[in-house]
């Protein structure tokens, strides 16, 4: 009995130190923090769930939609999110939440995903996820594709970041655990502006064929749509504004959405662009991402569009939601400067 108690005490002390060291050495990207903070949202409290790559992260503000329409939302996005990660995040999220709409960003359907080259991006998506069957599946897939990486290092990130002590000043570094609650609801906005210009004949029909879908990505998106259908949740495939996009790609995704019984919305199509009122000189962080002013324009337009087409509730007068969401909005508005508008 005494030995057992000693072992338990030792393991407890060791676990605490291990956790502290992990916090100290682990990289904390915004994506990992936002993906992790999702767990603090009360069960079945999210109305619109957004999953996909970084354009969502930068370009969609659930807080703004809350303020203007009263429905809640959360973005679980990360830079160049692998299709397997998107499917895992969606699947895991749907065990916690029962949203009225799932929005998937599917631009990566055209992309050959190089797992060995994209370790940093994979970790941005995975390091914030709690251990779950979905995470385990992603870990298996990643380590199968890139044998240099290990399951252990995804389960215990310290195993990956263990020699980061060489690059950081431990005397100055404050241990930062993953974020527990986010007022941004997954929207990691950027303020810098890089003026852009549309290429000639941007999004005009040219008759050229769209690049082929990447089969693995297509498979995971189809599985995502099927999962939502099974749970009777409508799916919107979304394309957010970016400079490197074509009419042919848009049409290919439109057909894909129709084949799979989902809706497709492309904000780069001429009629939508006209309504959005984006200024390429002012609203882009770089060619693939909105900056904050672009985010506000996109989110306002998208909020209206979603509110008109889907049966999304307005919780602004519901005390169960309003108290927390208004506190978060106040913080968000103050940080973004939207409270001054």
């Amino acid at each position: 009995m005494k030995i057992m108690l000693k072992c338990i005490a030792f393991v407890t002390v060791f676990s605490m130190l291990f956790s502290h060291t992990t916090n100290l050495l682990m990289r904390h990207d915004d994506e990992a923090n936002e993906i992790h903070a999702f767990y603090s949202e009360p069960k079945d409290s999210i109305d619109v769930l957004y999953v996909g790559s970084s354009p969502l992260l930068r370009g969609v503000s659930p807080m703004l939609m809350w303020q203007e329409h009263g429905f809640t939302g959360y973005v679980r996005a990360s830079a160049l999110q692998a299709p397997v990660v998107s499917y895992g995040l969606l699947s895991e999220s749907l065990r916690h939440q029962n949203p009225s709409l799932v929005v998937l960003l599917c631009d990566n359907i055209f992309l050959e995903y190089d797992y060995a080259e994209r370790e940093g991006d994979l970790r941005r998506g995975l390091d914030g996820m709690k251990m779950s069957p979905e995470k385990l599946h992603i870990m298996q897939k990643v380590t199968e594709e890139d044998p240099r990486q290990s399951m252990l290092s995804y389960a215990f990130p310290l195993m990956r970041y263990h020699d980061r002590w060489k690059e950081i000043d431990l005397a100055e570094e404050e241990p930062e655990p993953l974020l527990e609650h986010s007022f941004k609801k997954g929207n990691v906005y950027l303020r810098e502006n890089a003026p852009q210009a549309y290429q000639a004949h941007f999004m005009e029909p040219t008759g050229e064929a769209a690049p082929a879908f990447q089969e693995e990505a297509r498979g995971y998106i189809e599985k995502s749509i099927a999962l939502c259908k099974e749970k009777e949740i409508p799916v919107l495939l979304l394309h957010l504004p970016k400079m490197a996009w074509s009419y042919a790609q848009s049409m290919a995704l439109q057909s894909f959405a129709e084949e799979n019984g989902a809706m497709y919305l492309d904000l780069d199509l001429a009629e939508n662009r006209a309504q959005l009122g984006l200024d390429p000189q002012m609203d882009y962080y770089e060619q693939g991402h909105m900056n904050l002013t672009g985010t506000v324009k996109v989110s306002r337009w998208l909020g209206n569009w979603l509110d008109e087409r889907y049966d999304l509730p307005d919780h602004r007068n519901d005390p169960a939601y309003a108290e927390n969401w208004n506190i978060d909005w106040a913080e968000y508005a103050q940080r973004t400067g939207l409270s001054e508008n």
Partner: protein
């Protein structure tokens, strides 16, 4: 399955749990199953070679055992009727009969080892020779993948076979038990090479669980992992850089690489042995010692008594003594005294077998000319050491050199280390030519840039890594000196206060986690946003 992998830790945990949860009389069966599961996971299809060695060893030893029993019975009946010569003839006849069983088994098993390990080397060199002689024949070059631990389990099982032949041990008649002895998973990968009379009983008996033993076993495994992952794998970066470009580096760089490789190979090999011994200790099994602070040796023979002890002992018992005590070498000694004088002649039956043993040890290390050169180098050092031992002692007396003081011992240790390090250059350099070039350039291009012009930082380790390496070596040296003084470190630690012990344990584990060289090394550039 590498000993320092998480898979091995999980496997060991399951094996230990299964072993102690099994009823006592069946525990050896659990261990036997664990061994074969380990081998199948790690060695896969090569398991058939292990099985072939086990079957042939079993058949041969049981046959030898039966022959010995029958011979004993017959001899007991007949001995009254035999005179001294008759008894001698009987013995010789029986030895011949036993050899008819022993030799095919030895040839079969060493044959497998030779074909798998050396055939490509032999045929490759024969083809070179044919080409030089203008013979138009080209032998096919077969390169085989080596079964896991083949050099170790072959030597272990053949040692047992010879022991049965010599009637030093009774043959094991239970096939599964023999298979357990040959395949014990902690030692099959890199030794130590076990002896049947020391190991078998420990494997077959139902060992009781002991918390103390488990604690000591884990401590030894941690220490082994520290030596391998923190010291050996770290200095390997620097060593690989220098030995990878022998034409680029000269002078002190070669000296640093040689010393670094001495530390690397010791940390790697003895670390692995410590992990094996620690794992075995958890089961209640004590493996034979394989290293005894070799770099504190005062001479080359002393070094070989401390380095890979079980391999040296195997060659001593199964090669050196049979050769040295053979009629041929006895006669050679007598003849030698006539032609070479009493001193050298008397030593001949020792010198030549010693040289042969070290030549074979060289070949055992690998199928390349550099290993043959390594064997010749060590054999020559041993022979010269024996030959000049007495004259040098006489010289030291004449020069009034005190040989019972620290400074002399330090000189001996450093001298031995230099000779060992030169040998390591032979085995680590890409080839014999490269090692000769490196040794030459070490002398001819002697410069100290590596220490004063930041050269040390250009070899793959930054200054933080070098500090970790230096401090870890200090820990290793401190522990080695304590052990040399007869202090049992783990036992001494066990007598300390709980809090102190926990601090030590936690520091040990975290030093492995934080300073161990494993997985992908962190590089911030892997994590920058690219391509969106």
């Amino acid at each position: 399955m590498a000993f320092t992998s998480f898979r091995f830790v999980i496997f060991l945990a399951f094996a230990v749990a299964a072993y102690f949860l099994t009823p006592k009389r069946c525990r050896w069966v659990t261990l036997f199953v664990a061994n074969y599961v380990f081998y199948l996971i790690s060695g896969g299809k090569f398991f058939v070679y292990l099985l072939a060695t086990t079957v042939t060893t079993y058949v041969a030893t049981v046959r030898l055992g039966n022959m010995a029993a029958k011979n004993k019975e017959a001899f007991t009946k007949a001995k009254e009727t035999l005179d001294k010569e008759g008894k001698k003839a009987w013995k010789a006849d029986f030895t011949r009969k036993k050899r008819r069983v022993l030799i095919p088994a030895l040839l079969f098993n060493f044959g497998i080892l030779a074909v798998l390990k050396y055939s490509a080397f032999v045929t490759g060199n024969l083809n070179l020779l044919f080409a030089k002689l203008g013979i138009g024949t080209e032998l096919p070059l077969f390169r085989f993948l080596l079964p896991l631990g083949i050099s170790f389990y072959t030597f272990q099982s053949m040692g047992y076979l010879i022991d049965v032949y010599r009637e030093k041990v009774e043959p094991e008649r239970n096939f599964a038990k023999l298979a357990l002895f040959i395949s014990f998973f902690p030692q099959i990968v890199q030794g130590p090479i076990g002896r049947f009379n020391a190991l078998a009983e420990q494997l077959y008996r139902p060992n009781e669980f002991s918390y103390e033993r488990m604690k000591f076993g884990i401590q030894l495994m941690l220490w082994g992992a520290f030596k391998k992952m923190v010291i050996a794998d770290r200095v390997a970066v620097m060593v690989d850089t220098i030995f990878g470009f022998p034409e680029t580096f000269g002078g002190c760089y070669v000296a640093v690489a040689a010393l670094g490789y001495c530390i690397q190979i010791y940390g790697d090999f003895s670390g692995g042995i410590d992990i094996a011994a620690g794992a075995a200790q958890i089961f209640g099994i004590t493996l034979e010692k394989n290293f005894e602070r070799p770099y504190l040796a005062t001479s080359i023979p002393d070094f070989w008594r401390r380095w890979h002890i079980t391999l040296g002992a195997w060659f001593r018992d199964y090669v050196f003594y049979p050769l040295s005590l053979s009629k041929f070498f006895m006669k050679l000694g007598k003849k030698g005294r006539k032609f070479l004088g009493n001193y050298v002649g008397k030593l001949l039956p020792v010198l030549i077998p010693q040289f042969i043993v070290f030549f074979l040890i060289g070949i055992w290390h690998g199928a390349e000319w550099k290993y043959i050169a390594f064997g010749v180098y060590n054999g020559s050092l041993i022979v010269l050491g024996i030959l000049f031992e007495q004259p040098l002692q006489n010289l030291a007396k004449k020069l009034s050199i005190r040989m019972d003081c620290f400074s002399w011992r330090l000189f001996q240790v450093l001298r031995t280390l230099v000779l060992v390090a030169l040998g390591k250059i032979i085995t680590r350099a890409p080839g014999v030519g490269a090692s000769a070039y490196m040794m030459r350039s070490m002398v001819e291009n002697w410069d100290t840039d590596i220490f004063f012009q930041g050269g040390l930082l250009t070899l793959g380790l930054d200054h933080k890594d070098l500090w970790i390496f230096f401090l870890s070596c200090c820990v290793l040296l401190t522990v080695s000196l304590m052990q040399e003084k007869g202090i049992a470190v783990r036992e001494a630690l066990a007598k300390q206060n709980l809090y102190f012990r926990w601090v030590i344990y936690i520091c040990a584990v975290f030093s492995l986690i934080l300073f161990g060289m494993y997985g992908l090394q962190y590089d911030a550039s892997d994590f920058i946003y690219r391509g969106f």
